[in-house]
Symmetry: C4
Subunit: 240 residues, 4 copies
């Protein structure tokens, strides 16, 4: 298999894992991946039913959006993915879903607070929510501008330690070293969004957990001092 064939296979698999994780209904949701060498991006085709999806249907594009391989239209969210790949050089995979609880926070225009160690194990603080997209951005190039909106939100946030965002009135995006990590983080984001919903209902005067506890949990899994798991020196990003 060539690198591109491998990428298509991995992106196909990530999309199917996404489907089986019950985070998508109908044709909602998409996963993409980037080939490190060539910089090409593979993404789910638009509006194709998951159970009929095949690896050969995966569309390959360059970062400018020109189709390199594939007979189908790419996901309507393709430009959002491409913007993120351009702005976040270390990432190799992106996932977008409309999963119930993460979407509920996005529709409520609220960040998911960091209320416990499950959250802190994966996301370094509260998961941010963008502002509502402007009328001019909607008119200009909606999907590209959705990418810009996310990038603006991360001006003062390190995308390598906060690998998720909620787009207001829309839903979540997650990313990682590859499409598989992005899928896995979408699953975790949905779970902490769900637990967070019940937590804030039980305690409306909640606060984010303190910095010392956040650091303890996030850093025991990430970075040079990590000691969780079997390969304690692994790090998700090379320059981390």
């Amino acid at each position: 298999m060539t690198d591109i064939e491998q990428l298509k296979e991995k992106v196909y698999q990530a999309n199917m894992d996404l489907y089986e994780s019950n985070l998508v209904i109908g044709t909602f949701g998409n996963a993409s991946g980037r080939d490190e060498k060539s910089g090409l991006v593979a993404i789910k085709p638009s509006g194709v039913v998951y159970r009929e999806l095949k690896a050969v249907d995966i569309v390959v594009l360059d970062l400018k959006g020109s189709i390199v391989e594939g007979d189908l239209n790419p996901s309507s969210d393709t430009k959002t993915h491409l913007e993120l790949y351009k702005a976040f050089p270390d990432i190799g995979g992106i996932v977008h879903t409309h999963s119930t609880y993460a979407t509920a926070w996005a529709q409520a225009k609220r960040p998911v607070p960091c209320l416990g160690t499950t959250h802190a194990d994966y996301f370094y603080g509260e998961v941010p929510v963008t502002g509502v997209i402007s009328d001019s951005a909607i008119k200009k190039d909606y999907e590209l501008e959705t990418g810009s909106l996310i990038i603006d939100t991360f001006r003062s946030i390190d995308y390598r330690h906060m690998k998720a965002v909620l787009v207001a009135c829309h839903g979540p995006f997650t990313w990682g070293v590859d499409a598989a990590e992005a899928v896995s983080l979408s699953v975790t984001l949905e779970e902490i969004s769900r637990t967070g919903f019940f937590s804030v209902t039980l305690n409306p005067s909640f606060e984010n957990i303190k910095k010392s506890l956040l650091d303890k949990h996030y850093l025991r899994k990430h970075g040079p001092g990590a000691y969780y798991g079997q390969d304690v020196n692994k790090s998700t990003f090379k320059d981390e």
Copy 2:
């Protein structure tokens, strides 16, 4: 297969899809379809357990309610379906369920607000709720009057762009070009009713999304400017 046999088969399949989507419990819920040429309507028989339903059990009626084919009593909601077919000439399928979250909004006598793009992709604005049916309507011809109540609610709403309604104190109805689309919209309605429930709990001072965002999402999937999916010029209704 004759046109009517095909219709019965499709309506049977729609009812089974409805059952497998977990939107119905017991014998609640029903799907019907209309044959375009003859104008005849096929519907689930009343009170039959889904797992024992067969295509041959599907009842065929004309718009006046006279049974053309079938040995069983048609669904007790048949007159509601017939009223809608008469008032909404473009529709070819109707589904009624008591699905949990859509019914919760109907029982709360509240429309489902349009809080995000998942909703806007399928329903052009908030999903309306009827008033409570009057005592005289209950006494006169309850199921027919339930149809009239829906039709009244749509006096200033285009049924071709809002293919769902909540009947107050009762539950949801959806419709579309055929029974399959109506089933699919029942699934989507339940999901947006569910996400909407969590959203308004997290943000009680919510507002519907702005018109520009609603238009962007609804119109990228529907009508002449659509660009979502693989067949970008498709339109669900012929005259759309």
Copy 3:
């Protein structure tokens, strides 16, 4: 098969249906049935894991609580069942569960309001909740007194049209012509308790549906004017 063997088989099947309906966890929950001729009652043994239950394990007792057949201890709730069989002569089956939403209402010491037609199709009004059992009743004969508490609650309610109750701080009981109907009503009670929970959260100033709508739905399924289903003259109780 003798009448008693048939009863044991039916009660065994009802308990397994209860288990498969996900209304019980662990060994919680039990179904019983009464043989019309002999008046004997068959019930699940105490503390037996459902997946290991066999028809031969079902315990048969007379109304005084003497064991007629069976080597195992009967359910610890047996006396509650027997009190109900004595007080409610028309019933042939009883089910007790700790199903989540019905139990939540019972623990909140609130009746399940009748907010819609799904509820009205099966239960003729709000599902009542008992008072909290008295200290003296707890000390005297707890399970028997739980039965008395239910019977007291039904002094002004017809048990033939309200086949369910919530025992405060405990959970639901349902009954019917046989154990199978009682199981079916436990499933429906859980569903309306669930939908009711979301409804009152969305509309805290809710009211029960009006009498005309309640009558229309309940009576189109029950009693001499029923027209729902295929056997419109059926009635669940003989003297109804």
Copy 4:
């Protein structure tokens, strides 16, 4: 099989039961067991995916934390388990999960109130929540100090009758005579946390059930006067 092989097999099975009970996602959660004779503890390895776990992967340690058997790193929560085994001499199994509803209460820093008999059948009163771990404890030896925090919380609570705790901003721990009982109690704790959530939402001015009802239910299953189940004289702890 030696005693240690048997322990590893039982701890492996407990971890798989935990996984199949849907209380864990990803690699969250762990079960351990103690061999009565040798006092050795067997625990899940750190960060291993459940579906790839094998009995041979289970790590065996002494109470000081020295590895006796196993090639993998033990769970990162091992020191918490060991502290509890040292402080609670009668227990033979411990389980830690991040199950949704129990974690929601832990993140809300609230005990799970005892609102009904389902709760009272298993837990003798409200399930306590610890204080938030101090900064100095986080810096010193985080996982060991989490154990100390639990032990502090139980100064005036009998761990033999309250076999569960919520660690604030973290999640639940349960224990019992062996790993299997601890798993079973984690399942029950999640269920009462869930039912409790809906109960307090329906009745925000709730109170714990009265002492007489708590005693009646807890003591009919535990201790010398127990009469629930088939072996009425059993008691979970030998000196109970």
